[in-house]
Symmetry: C2
Subunit: 110 residues, 2 copies
DNA sequence: TTCCTATTTGGCAATATAGCCAAATAAAGG
DNA sequence: CCTTTATTTGGCTATATTGCCAAATAGGAA
């Protein structure tokens, strides 16, 4: 792994890490439904507003969401839907894992 | 976010975290090319064998790779190609980010 | 059995991440 | 200008992740 390869992997990792948190996954799915402002999301997630604000800044910093003023609030929106396929793929892996677990069980019962 | 939702997000996060590391991304791409044993990967990554062994166990634990004896070595292989689309999507986000950066620059020059 | 070779595991120190509270900002409405 | 409301930032502690070394383990080969 040379230096420029490493930099490229780190750039990818930054984006992957941005979604590697339960609250942030939730936020992404919710923002796919519709735009939301910080206090709404904090309420839904069930965490302190400052915590959610920090989550949003991580997502924004990774280029996954953007914000926009809506009156007195700041609303966040998804910047690309692509990230959802991404998460869908994770679901496929989970399904595959579950299936192989089942096969192991079936095998033992015989 | 109720309890079962949270559990579901945590299951996804486990998989996402598994690929959220430069060395592990590298390993996944290399294993897509062909199967590799631990010492080969350690050489390529440029880290201690024990470190790479731990990376592999994280990937294995997430169901992304599996291992198989090959003589005196243990070879690792990708369990699903799906994870690659996944990474391809990250690349799309990076491209989109770069494009919007360029737009910002172009805008300032006017 | 004893010696290699390949890999995994334990342990530790360094670094990164998370989440809360409190304080700082920003902007709208009196 | 002052107050209120929404959000962000700083600071701190708790927890998680990383990577190396050294030690343990697992199988072949002699």
């Amino acid at each position: 792994m040379n230096q420029s390869q490493k930099a490229q992997y780190e750039a990818r990792v930054k984006i992957i890490k941005a979604i590697a948190h339960p609250s942030r996954l939730f936020i992404i799915e919710e923002l796919n439904r519709r735009e939301r402002c910080v206090n709404e999301l904090a309420e839904m997630v069930g965490a302190d507003i400052s915590t959610v604000s920090k989550h949003l800044s991580i997502l924004k910093n990774a280029g996954l969401v953007f914000d926009e003023k809506r009156g007195t609030n700041i609303c966040y929106r998804l910047r690309t839907q692509c990230i959802l396929n991404f998460i869908g793929c994770v679901e496929d892996v989970l399904t595959a894992n579950a299936q192989s677990q089942m096969e192991i069980l079936r095998c033992c019962k015989k």
